[in-house]
């Protein structure tokens, strides 16, 4: 009886966290799609640049007009809403491109092995040897400001993670007898990779991709937070938090007065990353119950 309750509890928990993940994600998607209605941009202006709403450099507390307050002369509410679009853009594009590159490199290295493997893996070693954030930072400073530059920089320095993972999985799958069976049937290399190897090794990469989505968004926001990535006034959670940084260093309750500068964009950020992580966990549980991490 007690045992039954425990399994029930587990199921519930798993489902609850998965549900929560998908739900938050869904809310963010809705917000991103309807951003122009929730926070209407000024006509004929780039909606991704937060319009300046005041000439006073000091932050302003939430008011009916500016629901989340004002930071750096800009409306926080507007930034949080449009920042959702930025986050999706960065996350999806970088994850997609880097995963694709990683898949190609990792598949070749893993399936053909030998010299291919040795060379490609040494190249990934080199790219992995520079810390991701530092690499992205350096690359962005050299390319110049702009969200596109941030995305290029992050793609160049993050394809190695899926490449390594898919390579490892392929090495495992290669040992399976159905690969030998396919070879003995006379199936060509291309179709063996496509029909037998990839379908059996790709799921962990997809799970990893959903988890990486969160950390990529964090990195992009970190760059913007440091003021390196997107241009001044770009609608991004990291950039919003950048405004709050200096005000947070005031002691004696000074910072607490400006809580809204940190709490609103910070919460959006955490919830966004959390939802991807929960979705990733749920995918893992669903596709590979053995790996219940």
């Amino acid at each position: 009886m007690k045992r039954n309750r425990r399994t029930l509890f587990r199921k519930f928990f798993l489902n609850l966290s998965a549900f929560l993940g998908f739900f938050i994600l869904f809310v963010f998607i809705v917000v991103a799609i309807f951003a122009p209605f929730i926070a209407p941009p000024k006509p004929n202006k780039n909606p991704y640049l937060m319009p300046i709403v005041t000439w006073n450099g000091n932050p302003e507390a939430p008011s009916p007009e500016h629901r989340f307050g004002i930071a750096g002369k800009r409306d926080i509410f507007y930034g949080v809403i449009w920042g959702t679009r930025t986050a999706f853009q960065v996350g999806i594009i970088v994850t997609f491109v880097s995963t694709f590159i990683g898949l190609v490199v990792g598949s070749i290295a893993g399936y053909f092995g030998k010299l291919f493997d040795e060379i490609l893996m040494r190249v990934t070693d080199v790219f992995l040897a520079i810390p991701f954030l530092v690499a992205a930072m350096v690359f962005t400073t050299i390319l110049g400001t702009g969200l596109d530059k941030v995305m290029i920089a992050m793609t160049v320095f993050s394809w190695m993670y899926p490449a390594r993972l898919i390579r490892g999985n392929i090495l495992q799958v290669k040992e399976e007898q159905y690969i030998t069976a396919a070879r003995s049937l006379g199936v060509s290399h291309f179709f063996i990779i496509l029909r037998h190897v990839l379908p059996n090794s790709i799921f962990p990469v997809l799970i990893q991709a959903s988890m990486r989505m969160g950390s990529l968004v964090i990195t992009a926001a970190s760059l913007n937070f440091l003021g390196i990535g997107a241009p001044q006034g770009y609608a991004d959670w990291g950039a919003l938090l950048n405004y709050s940084r200096n005000w947070m260093l005031g002691g004696n309750g000074e910072a607490l007065k400006y809580w809204y500068m940190t709490v609103f964009p910070g919460t959006a950020m955490v919830l966004f990353v959390l939802s991807w992580n929960l979705v990733g966990d749920a995918l893992r549980d669903f596709f590979d119950p053995r790996l219940r991490i």
Binding site: R3, N4, T7, L8, P289
Partner: protein, 336 residues
């Protein structure tokens, strides 16, 4: 032969497991048998018949997703199911030892052979490091491992499969247990190594005068080693008897089918018999006799659970129709 004393008495043992869908799996369902001092009892059956679960239940080592839900296990007069955890730990490895199928995974890869054997000795015999080392070295020697002093310092992966199993045996027997449970001890070994290991177990059994419960699916090994044989199918005992009873006068249709379906070295078989169908899924064991959906003799009566029928002294069968066994022609089993 004067009657040896009773060592282990298992009565109506039940072990249930719970799968992810919360379904109850009756892995072992009402198993009753005895083991006398010094004898070898074989538990025989195909995978999923509950033989390994039974052996683990004897040591109360069922995984956390399973539970012993009923029965009694009386070892040397003590009901093991009533012991505290601590008392049970005192029995494991000392009075009842166990060896496993896969010696390469049953030994801990990060400790030396010596560490692992001495650990048991220090735990149960309360000796110091030095004495334990000497005992361990002696045990390795008895287990037929050359150069035991050196082997003590080696890690499991440095030994061959056969040597690892010898080390396992040395470890299991280091406290001179009264009962050794050998769970498929030679399944992962080559046939020439298997012969060595079986010889070793037989030899040590006599030297130490211990009882052995041999769990195996290989009827050839059973014919060679066992005094008494218990045939299990789908969590229940279907037949129990002395070696000669089981091999010369098998009475349960399953036992008969099993024996006829083995390719044999000593006789010519034009075509093997084979039991139709497959082992039922433990969630959906048939009611009544669990063999009935594969049994050529099955009729509506088999929907009721068969009780044990005594054929001769020590020879039991759990079948409604065992007297009709003559009807079981070779063809009855090959309706492919």
């Amino acid at each position: 032969m004067n009657k040896p004393s009773l060592l282990l008495d298992v009565k109506d043992l039940r072990v249930f497991f719970y799968n992810d869908n919360k379904e109850e799996l009756h892995a072992v369902d009402g198993v009753t048998f005895q083991v006398y001092c010094g004898e070898t009892v074989a538990l025989v059956g195909e995978s999923g018949c509950g033989k390994s679960v039974t052996s683990l239940a004897l040591l109360r080592l069922i995984d956390s997703n399973g539970r012993i839900t009923g029965g009694e296990i009386t070892f040397a007069g003590i009901n093991l199911l009533h012991l505290s955890k601590k008392q049970m730990q005192g029995i494991r490895g000392k009075d009842i030892s166990m060896i496993f199928q896969e010696p390469s995974t049953a030994l801990n890869p990060v400790f030396t052979i010596g560490d692992q054997i001495m650990e048991t000795i220090i735990l149960h015999q309360h000796v110091n490091q030095k004495e334990a080392r000497d005992i361990a070295e002696g045990m390795l020697k008895i287990a037929g491992i050359p150069d035991p002093g050196k082997r003590l310092l080696e890690y499991p992966h440095e030994l061959s499969g056969g040597m690892k199993q010898r080390a396992m045996i040395a470890m299991a027997l280091s406290c001179r247990p009264k009962l050794l449970i050998a769970d498929e001890p030679t399944t992962s070994l080559d046939v020439t190594i298997q012969a060595q290991i079986l010889e070793l177990i037989r030899d040590l059994q006599q030297k130490l005068n211990m009882a052995v419960i041999l769990i195996t699916h290989d009827l050839g090994i059973v014919a060679d080693m066992a005094n008494r044989i218990i045939v299990m199918y789908a969590g229940k005992i279907v037949e129990e008897g002395n070696r000669q009873d089981i091999f010369k006068d098998p009475s349960h249709p399953y036992t008969i089918g099993l024996l006829r379906s083995i390719p044999r070295l000593d006789i010519h078989q034009e075509k093997l018999s084979s039991i139709p169908g497959m082992v039922p899924d433990p969630v959906h064991f048939p009611s009544g006799c669990r063999f009935r959906n594969r049994c050529p003799l099955a009729d509506p009566l088999c929907q009721q659970e068969p009780s044990s029928a005594l054929i001769s002294d020590h020879h039991f069968v759990y079948c409604h129709h065992w007297k009709r066994k003559a009807e079981l022609q070779a063809e009855s089993f090959t309706n492919e």
